[in-house]
């Protein structure tokens, strides 16, 4: 009996010590993450709370806000511009995602083949990514102008010109091409990291089995870089919902409002037509835009994402 009591006491002491250690460790953990929590609270929590508040009020910055119930939502879903912008966004995705994805895969495959100066070449593709949106928009606008260099060459050689920003579909394609130019290098590097992680012995085994390069790409590379592909895809979707500078600078949302994006829609309602719509309506658009964007990401992950084991 004494033996059992002693054991019980020992276990209880051990539990107490472990609990004390656990509490000590936990408090250290809290202390370490506290700057992050405070930072998030200030720069994410407060704006989020403010955004949620704004969704239910009508406000023009100048006079006190009035409770507006769900009217901002009703107005948004009955606003033709909202549906037009949603259509424009999917239209932009239809060009931007395949162009930049194929470009990034090709770049990653090419970089993977390089034996020397791979880092230098890879980094040189990142120059586009760090260039100013305003700056390269102006450059592209001038290059693709009706009497710009590309159209002049085409006209002199073949007697034709391409109305890059004149026709709605071409204007969307032109902007998609510009954004692809900016991001192909960045996405390419992510995919290169994915390709680099694929075990080489898989290719050797496939070669022994007589697999062609094409079969190796479609049966080994592509399935095994699935996590990197999904990551790029998520980034592409998020980016499409956030396009602002290029159409704002080049097309002003036209022609026929077909390059008008969610960000422009939010900005205009927040600051240009603030006496009629205002920040309340803009906040509602931004929350709905975020919800649509998250839904797209969720859907894409559900359809495309596969568990990959590279060990």
């Amino acid at each position: 009996m004494k033996f059992f009591n002693r054991k019980r006491e020992e276990v209880s002491n051990l539990n107490y010590s472990l609990g004390k250690l656990h509490r000590k460790q936990a408090s250290k953990g809290w202390l370490l993450i506290s700057p992050y929590i405070v930072h998030q609270g200030i720069f994410f929590g407060i704006p989020l709370g403010w955004l949620i508040y704004l969704m239910f009020v009508k406000w023009n910055y100048l006079s006190p806000a009035k409770f507006y119930g769900l009217k901002n939502f009703v107005n948004l879903f009955t606003d033709d511009t909202f549906w037009l912008v949603l259509g424009n966004t999917f239209n932009m995705m239809a060009y931007f995602i395949p162009i930049s994805m194929i470009g990034a895969i090709l770049l990653a495959l090419a970089l993977n083949k390089l034996k020397y100066f791979r880092t230098v070449v890879a980094l040189s593709f990142l120059v586009a990514n760090v260039s100013s949106g305003v700056g390269y928009s102006i450059v592209f606008q001038k290059i693709l102008a009706e009497n710009g260099p590309i159209n002049k060459i085409l006209y002199n050689l073949f007697g034709i010109t391409i109305p890059w920003f004149k026709e709605p579909q071409l204007a969307i394609l032109s902007i998609a091409l510009m954004i692809s130019w900016k991001f192909i290098g960045y996405y390419g590097l992510i995919l290169l990291a994915g390709i680099g992680a694929v075990p080489k012995n898989l290719y050797e085994a496939a070669k022994l089995d007589g697999a062609t390069k094409r079969t190796q790409f479609f049966k080994i590379t592509l399935p095994l870089i699935n996590p990197a592909l999904v990551m790029v895809l998520v980034m592409q979707i998020t980016l499409t919902f956030g396009i602002f500078t290029e159409p704002y600078m080049i097309t002003g949302g036209g022609p026929m409002k077909r390059t008008y994006t969610f960000m422009m829609f939010i900005y205009d309602n927040a600051f240009r037509t603030f006496t009629r719509t205002g920040p309340g309506y803009a906040a509602t658009i931004s929350v709905i835009t975020a919800a649509i964007s998250f839904s797209c990401i969720f859907l894409v992950r559900k359809i495309i994402e596969r568990k990959v084991d590279l060990t």
Partner: protein, 423 residues
């Protein structure tokens, strides 16, 4: 140490007793130089009404900066760089103080010679905005190309522009006349509205009281509505390939277009970047008008104008008024403004007052602009400025430049869409 404390206490007492006036001005180096000097001089002579001067913070637009500042309680008491549409929105929100409530208002209008100009800024019988400058929009023509084409003077009418096009246009290389200024809502001030005012002798394009479009209603010199007259001109320009939606940069200076609408703010850049073209090979004219427009009648144009407003949350309103009166009742200040900014101040004696003669002697371009100040009409003071001009872009300018609709259909559709949007 004690002395220092006493001085500090006195300074604090003064600042709490009198407060400071928050004054914001346009983020433009030349205007900044002018206001810096003005504020320094005022502050040195008026210790009881100190002005804290600041440039409108850099954001997407001045309106965005002002609105967010007001919302966070950090807004200005007095602010410049206010365009008509924003002024109308602020008036509607009830945050502006009418200048005509102050003693000596009429006297200031007389002194600065802006009795007529202020009428374009009146809203409900009150004047909430003091116009600072007025930029008449004029057409810049390449005189060397005009001469080569056999034109001694710039084209005055639509037919003359089209005749010029026949002689100078080279497909995808050179265009006759850049009617379209751009794709943003504000570009409509400089193309459609400018040409509308020219064709219609300054007739209004929008009924501010009833929120109705007028440009398919008000008759022009041909008997047709002014809007149709202007739209027909756009249609013909694009039909004949004499204009393009997007041109290379600096098309006028590179000879890729023969004429385009410009403001006086384009002069310094033209002179420094293209000294071989400006001013030697540039002539100025009013915007072209319909052929039926009387030959002896002066041609009106659009006034790109911005003004100064006083917010109703300002504490020292009377002192602010004293400052404004001090700035605008002395023509020397307007002279300094003109010298520094090249933007014509809103006064009707610009070309007759000897004080300004020396400036115009050395700057013929500026003189041309100053001469048209009395003929420059400001835009409609409506809260729907951006909506109206966005719809003009979407339903008028784009379909006509893409040749997707006839002039009449495009005008009628635009009017319908605007009226529908506003009600």
């Amino acid at each position: 140490m004690k002395k220092l404390l006493v001085v500090l206490v006195i300074l604090l007492t003064i600042s709490f007793t009198f407060g400071t006036i928050n004054f914001w001005t346009a983020p433009n180096p030349q205007q900044e130089e002018f206001w810096k000097g003005m504020v320094e001089e005022w502050n040195a002579n008026n210790p009881d009404a100190q002005i804290k001067w600041k440039v409108i913070p850099a954001t997407g637009s001045s309106e965005e900066a002002i609105l967010t500042a007001i919302a966070s309680g950090e807004g200005p008491d007095l602010c410049t760089n206010i365009f008509s549409g924003f002024a109308a929105q602020l008036i509607e929100a009830g945050v502006l103080v009418p200048w005509n409530d102050f003693d000596g208002y009429e006297e200031l209008l007389e002194k600065r010679g802006m009795v007529e100009a202020i009428k374009g800024w009146e809203f409900g019988g009150n004047s909430y905005v003091i116009p600072i400058y007025s930029n008449p929009m004029l057409v810049w023509w390449r005189s060397d190309i005009l001469k080569e084409a056999g034109f001694d003077n710039p084209p005055r009418t639509y037919s003359e522009v089209l005749a010029l096009g026949e002689k100078v246009a080279i497909p995808k290389e050179r265009y006759a006349y850049a009617f379209i200024k751009g794709k943003n809502w504000w570009d409509r001030w400089y193309d459609f509205i400018t040409h509308y005012y020219a064709a219609g002798d300054g007739a209004p394009y929008f009924d501010v009281q009833n929120n109705k479009c007028l440009f398919n209603k008000v008759e022009g010199s041909s008997g047709d509505a002014i809007g149709y007259e202007v739209a027909n001109f756009i249609e013909e320009l694009f039909d004949k390939d004499y204009d393009a939606i997007s041109m290379i940069d600096n098309a006028l200076y590179l000879g890729a277009v023969v004429g385009q609408i410009n403001g006086p703010w384009d002069m310094p850049t033209a002179a420094s970047v293209f000294p071989d073209v400006y001013p030697e090979h540039i002539v100025f004219s009013t915007p072209p008008v319909p052929d039926s427009y009387p030959a002896d009648k002066p041609i009106k144009t659009f006034a790109d104008t911005k003004g100064m407003v006083l917010f109703n949350f300002a504490k020292d309103k009377d002192k602010i008024w004293e400052f404004v009166k001090w700035v605008y009742s002395d023509p020397e200040h307007d002279k300094k403004w003109l010298e520094l900014t090249n933007l014509p101040p809103v006064r009707d004696d610009l070309t007759t007052n000897e004080l300004f003669a020396s400036i115009f002697e050395n700057n013929t371009g500026l003189k041309a602009y100053a001469e048209y100040v009395p003929y420059a009409v400001p835009p409609a003071l409506t809260t729907f400025t951006t909506e109206i001009q966005d719809l003009m872009t979407q339903y008028l300018i784009e379909p006509l430049s893409l040749q997707k609709e006839t002039a009449k259909d495009a005008v009628d559709r635009t009017v319908n869409e605007i009226n529908k949007e506003l009600f």
